[in-house]
């Protein structure tokens, strides 16, 4: 991937981001770049600031200082509901689906940002609204196929197995047609086979759909096998960055995970 990445500007650039909660510095000047088509694994022990950074990227938090640049523009001036329009899609750590809606409707909501309408035209079911619904339905039908959800497409998501719900969330995020996909602990709660399958799926999404992926994950096997690049956080600071083998042999990283003094 580095060959492809080297000749272009980074797609995502996290620049000296700092976040403070009261007296605690949750993120302290974190910076790294992510190039188009890369899969970046963001790891670190509990409380390292991974989720905080993730929430900055989806604009649920605003950094106290620093900047986040996506496709050449700062995202900090846009509210979180603009992120899908900009091209950033996300999934949630503990599946956050619309529990009373069907699988199909959940994915349809993902297409919200790729369409436009007003409640009055929709109430009257004007022809252009119907055409748009058809367009959304085609996108959704393709994703249902792609993520193998056809059997449960019209079932409410509430009672589905956890692994299936995670696939629905992935389909919903893809309906945004994202340039960058943020995955928050996608392997959490999955069994061994499902994790292997997930790793294959993440690479497949990158390869077939040209989606850049930023992955926050505790499952080392998954992160090390799918990522092109790893960023390690500890106590809100970046302590290492590089290809998986480099990071794995980095003494600071080993110390952070196994405890003991860093020097």
């Amino acid at each position: 991937m580095s060959a492809r990445a080297a000749d272009t500007e980074p797609q995502l650039s996290v620049r000296d981001v700092a976040v403070r909660f009261g007296g605690i510095l949750a993120l302290d000047g974190v910076r790294f770049d992510l190039h188009r088509g890369q899969i970046l694994g963001l790891i670190g022990p509990n409380g390292a600031g991974k989720t905080t950074l993730f929430n900055c990227l989806s604009r649920l938090y605003t950094p106290a200082s620093g900047d986040i640049v996506y496709e050449g523009g700062s995202i900090l001036s846009s509210p979180s509901h603009r992120m899908p329009v900009i091209g950033i899609g996300r999934t949630f750590q503990n599946v956050s689906l619309f529990r009373r809606l069907s699988v199909r409707d959940n994915i349809r909501v993902g297409a919200h940002s790729t369409s436009a309408s007003d409640l009055f035209s929709e109430s009257l079911a004007l022809p252009w609204v119907r055409r748009q619904e058809t367009r959304i339905d085609l996108v959704v039908a393709e994703l249902i196929d792609y993520l193998d959800l056809a059997d449960v497409a019209d079932v409410p998501v509430n009672g589905l197995p956890f692994g299936t719900q995670k696939r629905v969330e992935l389909a919903r995020a893809l309906a945004i047609k994202p340039g960058l996909l943020l995955l928050d602990e996608p392997a959490g709660g999955l069994n061994h086979e499902e994790v292997v399958e997930l790793g294959r799926l993440i690479r497949q999404i990158r390869d077939e759909r040209g989606v850049t992926v930023l992955l926050v994950e505790h499952h080392m096997g998954l992160v090390m096998s799918v990522s092109d690049k790893i960023v390690v956080l500890n106590f809100g600071r970046k302590i290492a960055e590089g290809a998986p083998p480099e990071v794995q042999s980095n003494p600071d990283v080993v110390a952070a995970y196994l405890g003991g003094s860093t020097r």
Binding site: L101, S123, R131, T134, D137, I176
Partner: protein
């Protein structure tokens, strides 16, 4: 309701896509059509078969149906609790009454006016309500319900509202020389408005905006991350909801030929909420059952015992909630599930 998605603009390319589109075309099946035709036929025939008083009662059921439909969009579909929808009903009723009484505007044209006024009022109320959730929002809407009838009594507005005495209106005749008496005509007119309101609400919830409203109800953070402007949609839900309830209020004023501040007390708001819950929260056809409950159960309680009508009403309500905790809608779903388990 026939909602077919036109596919002429973008012919699906592959067989899978075509199959998907065919599956997604939302055409009702033969049985649903038959049920719709029978229901429609009997509701149109009804005013020619029963007494005028019953026609009047059925008309009021339809009026409450529209009001509850509006409350359902806010509470059932968007998940915002309102204890104050009587205020929007009152606003619609007074808009219609003042327009007819002071400016001699035809009753039909007061409906769009009431719709517009209540949409704006509802949307504006929805803006500060964005900061409130659950019980806090319930309290704010409660305050709205308490304040509104007082407003209509204030002396600066007496020129229009006629203060506590209220406004008496004339009963409209059937237009175009139709051979209908006034009650029959009002019933059919209200029926047409109810069907229109229902079709609009049904269209809305099956589309992008309606899905956004339900997404906010189920998970506001996720909805926001999918690009739904939650603040805008929550205010719009208030506006649309108030619009429906306001139109119901206007129709109610036309049907009763009378508005006065004391017709719109807090108990009206609670009656609408009770109707919503009895019919089924989030289930649109439930509004009709809710409307019937709002109108008939208090009368029924009165006829059982004048002195203890409140107790009888309460008993009926408790029994209903015990037998069908998620309203008529929940009961129908449970029955269907039971039947399909048993006979399939």
């Amino acid at each position: 309701m026939t909602i077919e998605t036109s596919i002429a603009e973008q012919p699906p390319t592959t067989t899978t896509q075509r199959a998907a589109v065919a599956q997604l075309q939302r055409r009702p099946n033969a049985r649903q059509l038959a049920i719709a035709v029978v229901c429609l036929g009997s509701t149109i025939a009804a005013p020619f078969l029963v007494s005028n008083f019953l026609i009047f009662q059925m008309t009021m059921v339809l009026v409450y149906t529209i009001a509850i439909l509006g409350l359902n969009i806010l509470t059932g579909i968007n998940g915002q609790l309102s204890l104050g929808h009587g205020a929007f009903y009152a606003a619609g009723a007074y808009t219609a009454a003042i327009l007819m009484d002071r400016w001699g505007i035809g009753y039909f044209w007061t409906l769009p006016a009431a719709a517009l006024v209540c949409f704006v009022v509802g949307f504006l109320f929805g803006l500060p309500a964005l900061r409130l959730e659950g019980v806090y929002l319930a309290l704010a809407t409660f305050a709205l319900a308490v304040v509104t009838p007082q407003l209509f009594k204030l002396s600066p507005f007496e020129n229009w509202t006629a203060g506590v005495t209220g406004i008496t209106l004339a009963k409209p005749d059937a237009p175009f020389g139709l051979p209908l008496d006034q009650d029959q005509w009002l019933y059919l007119f209200t029926l047409a408005m109810t069907i229109a309101a229902y079709v609009c609400a049904h269209n809305l919830i099956a589309r992008r905006g309606g899905r956004a409203l339900m997404a906010i109800r189920d998970n506001p953070i996720a909805a926001q991350s999918m690009g739904v402007n939650t603040a805008l949609y929550k205010s719009l839900a208030f506006g649309i909801s108030a619009l429906y309830t306001g139109v119901a209020g206007a129709l109610g004023a036309i049907v009763l030929q009378f508005v006065a501040p004391d017709s719109f007390t807090f108990s009206l708001s609670i009656a609408l909420l009770v109707g919503l819950v009895v019919g089924g929260v989030g289930w649109l056809p439930g509004a009709l059952f809710g409307g019937a409950f709002v109108l008939f159960v208090p009368n029924l309680a009165e006829s059982v015992s004048k002195g203890l009508s409140g107790a009888v009403y309460g008993l009926v309500l408790i029994t209903l909630m015990y037998v069908m905790p998620s309203g008529v809608g929940g009961l129908l779903r449970a029955t269907r599930a039971f039947a399909s388990k048993r006979y399939d």
